[in-house]
């Protein structure tokens, strides 16, 4: 079981922003630079960090950071 705090460093590295504090309600619109390319970089970084593997179907359904957290936890 991981928490949002464990995801934060990955987000900070991907979006190159040391002050970023992610919350479960956050969406791509709330983070500067979260576009389709950085989204996929984030996905691979999270896969590597937490040793999980996503499918395209799962990724298409994500709407918020909270969904992403739930998805990772469902695979641990």
């Amino acid at each position: 079981m991981i928490t949002i705090d464990l995801m934060n460093p990955v987000f900070r590295t991907v979006f190159d922003n040391d002050k970023l504090e992610v919350t479960e309600a956050m969406t791509a619109d709330d983070v500067i630079g979260w576009d389709s390319l950085s989204h996929m970089i984030l996905i691979s970084a999270l896969e590597e960090e937490f040793q999980v593997s996503f499918t395209q179907k799962e990724i298409r359904k994500l709407k918020s950071v909270g969904d992403l957290l739930d998805l990772i936890n469902s695979k641990l």
Partner: protein, 484 residues
């Protein structure tokens, strides 16, 4: 028949709207389907059987994908890939057919099976098929990915595919966005009047601004050589850029407005692209229904597939997507180079340079963006690549060995009338969210707001009358995006 055609405005639209608004809701979809079939049939009656079989086949393919998507086995993947492949192949076939039929060496022509000496691409390409095929592909993939369920009513499905407001220039609708309206179109006087206002705005943009500029722009961009003096080249570049935006966004306004009148709420297709501070952002704001389609169905799956292959550069999917965007617009080299140039610009932005760019003053970011966008529009609008290279040389004053020539009798060119400059100025204003700014200033001032809404409706009425006068005078000009 386009939206500014008198036949559409004075005959087709009043009959359809009258029948649609008077008849009960149950009959609404049948009225719409008949209207869309007539709209299609007037343009290309010989393709009605093709579209009928296309709709039936894709309807059952959708049902089939739904029935096997849960198993996620080899067969279910084969079926969804097959459905996508067939539709993509049809699009490719129709895009390449004119060239194939024109070639004197192709076996069908040699054997005299078909004899078309000078095939007309407008005749061969099924109306709106670039938009329709992309819609159907998104439909099948979304069913497979459980974003939506397959439609279980053929009439509703046929309306999703052949809805006349989106037939000329899109937008490319996702089924998930349309499914509620297909079940229960939100017919109301409020949405009908809001939609009509939007339609008049679009019609005025197209007829008053874009078509005025089109006379000049079409003349310059159909010369056999692009030699202009530098100041004229810049002036015509601005005219072309304004025309392209006003023409296409005006058409989108008309489509979105008509859909709203009929109870369908569409997403915006333009989000003030010239406010963008990067080329990538420009393309997230321009023709949103197409760019988001490419993002969801090509870019993301490709990027996902290569995410663990560290040796493949991250920008490769960007290049692929923009090359395909170019091809979607046409197989001609200038479209392919146009798409590739945009792909290169966005690839550069996706690396370290992009991060550096974001730290520079906004003015510099805008210059960078406009540099690529304006340059790429020259490629887009030119008849071929060599013309655009010549035109770009004009812009910087290096025409090479070709002497600088003014317009002459052999190169007829209309004298710039005041309406030309007026159209550029108004067109540039339309590129910025002026109405939103005005609306914000009026918030909390109900009396002023009411006065402004009367003023707006009066202005729209005048614009409608003026547009109708212009249409009666000059006849409808086809939209730039109709040919795609």
């Amino acid at each position: 028949m386009n939206f500014s055609d008198p036949k559409f405005l004075y005959l087709f639209l009043p009959i359809v709207l009258g029948a649609y608004l008077i008849l009960p809701k149950k009959a609404a979809l049948v009225v719409l389907l008949i209207a869309s079939t007539v709209f299609l049939g007037i343009a290309q009656p010989y393709y009605l059987v093709f579209f009928l079989s296309f709709i039936i086949a894709n309807y059952f393919l959708g049902r089939l994908i739904q029935s096997c998507r849960d198993s996620e086995n080899y067969w279910s993947k084969l079926i969804v890939w097959g459905a996508v492949g067939i539709n993509a192949a049809l699009l490719l076939l129709f895009k390449l057919a004119p060239q194939f039929l024109a070639s004197t060496t192709n076996p069908l022509v040699v054997a005299e099976v078909i004899r078309i000496p000078d095939p007309d691409p407008d005749w061969i390409f099924p109306l709106a098929f670039s938009y329709i095929s992309f819609q159907v592909i998104s439909y099948h993939i979304d069913i497979f990915n459980e974003i939506t369920d397959a439609e279980n009513n053929l009439i509703r499905f046929a309306n999703y595919i052949l809805f006349f407001p989106k037939m000329m220039v899109g937008p490319i609708q996702r089924y998930a966005d349309d499914q509620d309206a297909l079940r229960d179109p939100a017919k109301s006087l409020g949405s009908a009047s809001a939609g009509l206002r939007r339609f008049i705005v679009g019609l005025s943009k197209k007829v008053i601004i874009a078509d005025t500029l089109a006379v000049y722009v079409n003349a310059v961009f159909s010369f056999d050589d692009p030699t202009l003096n530098t100041s004229h080249a810049w002036l015509m570049l601005f005219a072309m850029v304004v025309q392209l935006y006003v023409d296409f966004s005006g058409y989108s306004d008309m489509a979105i407005g008509l859909a709203e009148v009929l109870g369908f709420k569409y997403r915006e297709n333009f989000n003030y692209p010239y406010l963008a501070t990067s080329v990538a952002e420009f393309w997230r704001r321009w023709h949103v229904s197409l760019t988001s389609w490419f993002r969801d169905y090509i870019f993301t799956p490709l990027q996902f597939a290569i995410r663990k292959q560290k040796w493949i550069p991250k920008f490769l999917p960007i290049l692929v997507v923009f090359f395909l965007t170019g091809f979607w617009h046409g197989k001609e080299n200038h479209y392919l180079v146009w798409g590739s140039v945009l792909g290169i610009a966005i690839s550069i932005e996706s690396g370290k340079f992009g991060k550096y760019l974001k730290k520079l003053p906004v003015a510099i970011q805008r210059v960078w963006t406009l540099y690529w966008i304006l340059g790429s529009w020259v490629l887009f609008r030119s008849p071929n690549v060599s013309f655009s290279i010549g035109y770009l040389k004009n812009l910087v004053g290096i025409q090479g060995t070709v002497p600088l020539r003014a317009f002459s009798e052999s190169r007829p060119y209309p004298i710039f009338q005041n309406s030309f400059y007026f159209s550029i100025i108004v067109g540039v204003i339309l590129m910025f969210p002026v109405s939103q700014i005005v609306q914000k200033h009026l918030e909390g001032k109900p009396r002023l707001l009411k006065f402004a809404s009367y003023l707006r409706d009066f202005a729209l009425l005048l614009l409608l009358i003026y547009s109708m006068g212009l249409i009666a005078n000059q006849g409808p000009l086809p939209g730039i995006y109709e040919k795609f």
